[in-house]
Amino acid sequence: MGKVDLRVGLGPLKLKNPILTMSGTFGFGQEYGRYYDLAILGGVIVKAMTAEPRLGNPPPRIAETPSGILNAIGLQNPGVDAAIAEELPLLQDLRRRGTVVIGNVSGYSFAEYTLVTDKLSQSGLVDAVELNISCPNVKGGGLAFGTHPDTVYKVVSAVREVCEVPLIVKLSPNVTDIAEIARRAVEAGADILSLINTITGLAIDAKTRRPILSNVTGGLSGPAVKPVALRMVHEVAQAVNTPILGIGGATTGIDAVEFLLAGASAVGVGTANLMDPLAAVKIVQGLEQFLLDQKIASAAELIGGLII
């Protein structure tokens, strides 16, 4: 292929290209690393980490829906200490080769979020922390942290204090006013916003009359949610000046272009990895091909380029 410049800046992060693989769909990178050289990617966001090891939900954890999936993994992970000791070190070579590695932080309390962030931030093993605020606030009646502006402000503020690397706040789409949530996250110190996380959904087996997922509900992701993700990225880009990582249903280079046009500076690939282990590479290539075909010199030119 010819010469197009795929580099973009995602706030303080310099990316070799705008494509990052998304938390929970990419493990700690090792599985996909056997399919291709991960250094092809702009970045990798690893599985959610919590203070303690977590078993996660009983199976079934995945249900298929039209052009999408529901998942309720339940944050199975070895805990932040084990991740720092065993998983993240394996990704350091990647960082030296210019692919950013980002830690996804989850929790069920303010204390858990700050503890995990602190450890990751101190570890020196990640380029940034992504705060997953879609988890239920156990002490706050079980509502997700990310669904109330004040809670968002509080949790981001708390985490900000301990976070010495760039802080990405990952927004939940299960809200009335995503722009308001975004504003509060930025006020509280988010360097970057990532959106969307999954939309809560339910799948039912008509014959057994039971939910397909053991957890009853799960998070909807994949191509089905792309129009909602694009809308929210666009809304947030209008509302704040903070750089955006656009996520939701991207499976092709053209999809990535759409996210950039809507106002994202980089694009996350989640469910597509499950649909095809080579998806992220194909998206990088597809984006490059689009730029070549359309005679666009750089990916950065597309950011926020939607004409209205």
Binding site: S23, G24, T25, F26, G27, E31, Y32, R34, Y35, A48, P53, R54, L55, G56, N57, P58, P59, P60, R61, I62, A63, E64, T65, P66, S67, G68, I69, L70, N71, A72, I73, G74, L75, Q76, S106, Y108, N132, S134, C135, P136, N197, T198, T200, I212, L213, S214, N215, V216, T217, G218, G219, G222, P223, T251, N273, L274, M275, D276, P277, L278
Partner: protein, 281 residues
């Protein structure tokens, strides 16, 4: 168990896709790379149609492989959208495969090996039973299905050694569950190893029987899958472990699909159900 295999994304040509009995098809695909690598008990994930629908690939166990012609066979039952689409695919068409995946069966040093197949679970056992015979081992098979027609490769198994047949309707063999002849058999005979594949209730019943008789047993498990390569943690089953909860969730796709029967927890302890308890990934 055999070593995990991470699989490749491979283009395959459909050689044949024929109906065996109502709703049950045998698919033969030509894909030399897969044929040269895949082992009994491993599985493949098939992208049943190009495009976005259905979203995910479908997992199917190896039935037979022919390294010479570079062909691989699976037997599958039409149970929903994906298998329905697959059943309409025609010879000559291209189809995308991810595989081989998973660990496969391990015959080890066993001399006398039992095979227990229920329904569609009979098909994945044939290749390993044939391998056992080739390696000079003794094979005893216990096959069950809803009716005689669904005892798919009964004849092939009969050629390999002694077989016990049951059906739900008694149309062929005894009217019983397949655990019954096995239990009877174990009263008077020893087995070094048992390999089983079939519906979960059958596997659960088997696990109890072989536990009581101390027969080393490998079970091939099924679970709804996402990635198929071990990354998404979508396909787990509870496996006993030295942890506070007494178990961990292991991945059917890459830690399995074959597990030792005595390691499997068929019921998740109630108290641990809320160790996830959220739909946030």
């Amino acid at each position: 168990m055999a070593k995990e295999n991470i699989g490749k994304v491979l283009g395959a040509e459909i050689v044949d896709n024929k109906i065996l009995v109502p709703y049950v098809y045998q698919l033969t695909i030509k894909v030399a790379k897969l044929a040269s690598e895949i082992k009994p008990g491993q599985f493949i994930m098939i992208k049943v149609a190009p495009g976005l629908e259905p979203t995910l690939r479908r997992p199917f166990s190896l039935h037979r492989v022919d390294k010479e012609t570079g062909t691989v066979q699976i037997i599958y039952q039409v149970v929903g959208k994906g298998t329905e689409i697959l059943s309409r695919r025609k010879p000559g068409e291209e189809i995308e495969i991810l595989g081989p995946l998973g660990n496969g069966f391990d015959l080890g040093e066993a001399e006398r090996i039992g095979f227990v197949g229920g329904g569609m679970g009979i098909a994945p056992l044939l290749a390993v039973a044939e391998q056992a015979v080739q390696e000079g081992k003794e094979v005893v098979s216990f096959l069950g299905a809803k009716t005689g027609d669904y005892l798919l490769v009964k004849k092939e198994f009969a050629r390999l050694g002694k077989i016990f047949i049951v059906t739900d309707d008694g149309s062929v063999g005894e009217k019983a569950l397949v655990s019954k002849p096995l239990e009877k058999y174990l009263k008077h005979h020893d087995l070094d190893l048992l390999l089983a594949c079939g519906p979960t209730p059958m596997l659960k019943a088997l696990a109890a029987i072989v536990g009581a008789h101390g027969v080393k047993t490998q079970l091939s498990l099924e679970q709804r899958m996402g990635c198929g390569i071990g990354a998404c943690l979508g396909c787990v089953v509870p496996i006993k472990a030295d942890t506070p909860e007494g178990f961990v969730y292991k991945r059917v796709c890459s830690d399995g699909p074959v597990f030792w029967a005595d390691e499997i927890l068929f019921e998740v302890p109630k108290a641990t159900e809320k160790q996830g308890g959220c739909s946030c990934g």
